[in-house]
């Protein structure tokens, strides 16, 4: 009974909000009193002699320790012919054995202490995470750092890693919603862009063991990692364990390959991928701002009002709440190291697709045209600010956020800047950035679903 297979039907939604108005009847009295201030617990920041930056937070609520590293590495640095190298390196690091242990011995050693280990590989960040009972922290750390610094990269397990990655791609494509999302990225950034490309059977096969070894050697250096840990430990003991286990870690400057810059270009292309589904899976998007653009805060507010704010955001209200056209409809602003992606997504019965796309365009055009109210702004601000307290509600979350702020080049108390900039955003700022960055007529559109000719007369309610 411990494990409940994921078959519960969740009501829905992302975050949510709009319109600042006193609640009816006796509910407004329940809203009195200032919301609590954000007060992150005191975190111990240590830079080890090898350059590894560590954020640590002791918390003795439960007898467990959770730890992880984030590494500056990922798929944007891969050679074009070896797309998949980063993902394969990460997965082989985990399954290919480590230190003195063969893959089988490594797997058993982890399971013997009931540990939970995961690795993941993104476009510009890789990470590893370990959860372990505090009584086993020494053994856990040993395995964790063996994996990071002394991976075996077993040859037969490389076959497994290759096959698994290939299968992942196949299965992602089987999901029409995921397929639509990937295809939109390709349409916006270009098929071969490091920010959009995906591994193929051929590019996976091109990755050799030697590539993985040199990839690992290049990026997995102590000074290219941030370590985070929270849980049931004493600082002094834990830090000395870290020193002990990372003593042999390689160090040195990393020569990051040049990543082709994204060319800012809005196209308004449309692509239909015909599949015999009963719904059309629609993704619309365009290139958007970079991460350190000062307009980001106002644009986040625009995004919240438009479609990232859950149930009272305009897209949700117009398309789901008022018309029942879709279960899920959202917008998402993802500023990037290079130009980021702004996307709107929805799934609707095929015969409603054209109407839904039109509604989305109308809503984006309304925002771009400056039709934003003071009430909407006030509500969006309040919901975004009042939720900040949750950045720091879990010990591991506290250190994890700090590490990520540092990784992306912000100060460690970046949340203050975020809060102050959101608060300071004026209606005129929102109108300006909405006009500057939203282009309802230049959105690229991907539709995965039945043939467009059949769409208008397709079945559906």
């Amino acid at each position: 009974m411990r494990r409940v297979f994921a078959i519960a039907i969740v009501f829905a939604a992302l975050l949510a909000p709009v319109s600042l108005r006193a609640a009816s009847g006796h509910f407004d009295r329940l809203e009195r009193g200032a919301l609590p201030q954000v007060r992150p617990p005191k975190v111990r920041t240590v830079v080890l002699p090898n350059g590894m930056r560590c954020y640590l937070l002791a918390d003795h609520t439960l007898p467990i320790v959770e730890m992880g590293v984030i590494v500056k590495a990922g798929s944007i640095y891969e050679p074009a012919k070896k797309v998949g190298l980063a993902a394969l390196s990460a997965s082989l690091m985990k399954i290919g054995g480590a230190g003195e242990r063969s893959p089988e011995e490594f797997d058993s050693a982890l399971d013997d202490i009931g540990a939970s280990l995961s690795v993941s590989s993104g476009r510009e960040m890789q990470s590893a995470n370990l959860k372990v009972m505090s009584e086993d922290v020494r053994r856990g750390l040993g395995l964790f750092f063996d994996m990071l610094f002394k991976p075996v990269f077993d040859k037969s397990r490389l076959k497994t890693a290759r096959k698994t990655l290939q299968e992942e791609i196949i299965r992602e494509d089987d999901d029409p919603g995921e397929q639509a999302s990937y295809e939109l990225r390709k349409l916006v950034y270009g098929e071969d862009s490091p920010w959009a490309r995906r591994p193929t059977k051929r590019s996976i096969r091109a990755v050799k063991l030697g590539d993985i070894e040199s990839y690992h050697e290049r990026y997995y250096r102590a000074n290219n990692m941030i370590l985070i840990a929270a849980g049931d430990f004493s600082y002094a003991e834990f830090i000395s364990l870290l020193k002990e286990f990372t003593a042999c870690a390689p160090v040195g400057e990393i020569d990051f390959p040049k990543v082709e810059p994204v060319e800012m270009e809005l196209k308004g292309d449309e692509r239909t991928i015909v599949r015999p589904t009963s719904q059309a899976f629609i993704r619309m998007g365009e290139l958007t701002i970079k991460r350190h653009n000062p307009d980001k805060y106002a644009l986040f507010l625009v995004d919240t009002i438009l479609g990232a704010g859950g149930f009272k955001s305009r897209l949700m209200d117009e398309i789901r709440v008022k018309r029942g056209l879709a279960y899920s409809v959202y917008s998402a602003l993802m500023p990037g190291t290079d130009y980021g992606l702004f996307v709107v997504g929805l799934d609707t019965s095929a015969n409603q697709a054209d109407r839904a796309i039109e509604l989305v365009r109308e809503q984006i055009a309304a925002m771009a045209g400056g039709h934003i109210s003071k009430e909407e702004l006030a509500f969006a601000k309040r919901s975004m600010i009042s939720r900040l307290v949750f950045l720091f509600d879990k010990p591991y979350g506290v250190v994890s956020h700090m590490a990520r702020f540092h990784f992306y080049g912000y100060p460690e108390d970046y949340w203050r800047i975020y809060r102050d900039r959101i608060v300071a955003s004026k209606l005129s700022d929102l109108k300006r950035v909405a006009k500057q960055y939203l282009h309802p007529d230049k959105l690229d559109v991907v539709i995965v679903g039945p043939n467009p000719k059949g769409r208008a007369r397709g079945k559906g309610r």
């Binding site: 009501f11 009816s24 329940l30 015999p276 009963s278 799934d347």
Partner: protein, 468 residues
């Protein structure tokens, strides 16, 4: 941990738990109702989930500017909606009448909206720092939850009480279309949703485990406000509900708040629960086509808690599927390179009725499901013949204890686990006793239970094949 849990029962029978955790000035709250897919009747499948959607549409006090006036219009909508639903799902729909009703309903909807405050429930939560505001429906329960800043406990409690006790059933027919879209995304166009549905209908000939929680398509489009209202009044009664609050709250004050918000709703007698009624079918092998990579589901009928075999199944699950060194993962994923992933569950699709032990395999491209099934057979047969080593049992015990700790590390997770054990089994303590119960399982138990239940006549195999 167990010692820090404060328990109490309101006069109307609603059970509550409060756990003070002061890491941050926030709390997570959940109200769980022992009302899920298993409480539905044939022909009205999906109504539990449909009600869950209704709860967010507000009450007679939330979401309205003038309930007296709004209510009159809602009553008209309810009547017309029932008529329209009957016509649309009837033998030969009356086209003229359908159009007339639709027109009238649209006008009424517009009129009602003059008195309504759209999404007020969401607005209140969001304006006050709410996070993770959501709900889910499973076969066993329906749960409503949110996390909020500590000094909004009274708001959370009062809004949640409105949602579960005083629903207004607004926008039912628009929301029914939303649920129909949800079904299309989650079942009709989803390879895994389709396999779940096929597995359930193959393993159970009748009864609530034979359909998926979201309901059968023909039933969902036939649901009316009356159906949702009936489901609610039968099941959403205080003694059938459990509430949990975990976080930085003052316990005495929290008790007063909870009593004030939830205590005023009278308890009602609930109709007797279904104890069984499923016709379980074993010895089934079937397949179906879908535009997606293959998957294989193998399942066996088994008892559920309080039957003590449950703990033995937990051990079996860990031996087969927990971690990379577990028997099936090791063989299928690593040694033989036949599958991408293996998942297991020993409480599928729910825990309140006798359920299934499930093994779910995603084969690698070009690998034969037959080979995979053969290896599963070998591992099952090994369980029946070869005593589990002390070392393997020790590992399982460790995995279970660690897994329990990992599952409690966030306020919302602890709240949900406590609510789940109390709501489903009427025994919150079981959550903490779990490692001890599993530790008592012997190698003889494993052999005996495997021999008794993991047999071919008790087994269902469903293969999903790629077909365009």
């Amino acid at each position: 941990m167990a010692a820090r849990i404060v328990r109490f029962r309101l006069a109307n029978g609603m059970r509550w738990f409060i756990v003070r955790r002061t890491q941050a000035p926030v709390f997570s709250g959940i109200v769980m109702v022992r009302a899920g897919g298993v409480d539905e009747r044939t022909g009205k499948t999906g109504v539990a989930h449909m009600f869950e959607h209704m709860a967010f549409k507000g009450s007679s006090r939330l979401g309205t500017k003038d309930w007296k006036r709004e209510r009159k219009i809602l009553k008209k909508i309810e009547k017309l909606g029932a008529e329209l639903t009957a016509i649309e799902n009837g033998e030969s729909p009356d086209v003229e009448r359908t159009a007339a009703i639709k027109k009238e309903m649209a006008a009424l909807k517009k009129e009602a909206s003059r008195y309504q405050v759209e999404n007020e429930v969401w607005e209140l939560f969001m304006r006050n720092g709410g996070k993770g505001i959501n709900a889910y429906t499973s076969k066993d329960v329906t749960a409503f939850f949110a996390s909020m800043p500590s000094n909004r406990l009274a708001l959370w409690a009062n809004v949640t009480a409105e949602m579960v006790f005083r629903p207004a059933f607004r926008d039912f027919y628009t929301e029914r279309s939303v649920v129909a879209e949800e079904r299309r995304t989650g079942v009709e166009n989803s390879p895994n949703g389709a396999l779940v549905e096929k597995l359930l209908s193959s393993a159970f000939r009748t009864g609530p485990y034979s359909w998926s929680t979201i309901g059968l398509e023909e039933d969902v489009v036939g649901l009316t406000i009356g159906d949702a209202r009936e489901f609610h009044s039968e099941n959403y009664t205080p003694s059938n509900m459990v509430g949990v609050i975990v976080g930085d709250v003052d316990v005495a004050r929290a008790k007063r708040i909870v009593a004030g918000a939830f205590g005023g709703f009278p308890n009602r007698k609930r109709p007797p629960e279904r104890k069984t009624g499923d016709v379980a079918v074993g010895g089934v092998e079937t397949e179906f086509g879908f535009d997606a990579a293959p998957a294989v589901a193998v399942a066996w009928h088994k008892p559920t808690l309080p039957d003590p075999s449950e703990y033995t199944f937990d051990v079996i699950l860990s031996l087969l599927c927990d971690g990379s060194s577990s028997r099936l993962k090791k063989r299928l994923v690593y040694d033989r390179r036949l599958a991408k992933e293996v998942f297991c569950s020993d409480a599928f699709p729910g825990s309140r009725l006798e359920n299934l032990f499930l093994i779910w395999v995603e084969p690698l491209k070009g690998r034969s499901p037959k080979k995979i099934l053969r290896i599963i057979d070998e591992e099952i047969s090994r369980l029946t013949k070869e005593p589990v080593s002390e070392q393997d049992l020790a590992r399982v015990r460790k995995q279970v204890s660690a897994g329990l700790m990992f599952a409690l590390d966030a306020n919302e997770k602890l709240a949900e686990e406590l609510a789940r054990f109390e709501t489903i089994f009427g025994d919150w303590k079981l959550l903490f006793d779990y490692p001890d119960r599993v530790a008592k399982v012997t190698k003889e138990d494993v052999m005996r239970i495997a021999k008794k239940y993991l047999i071919d006549s008790n087994r269902i195999v469903v293969e999903r094949e790629r077909r365009r």
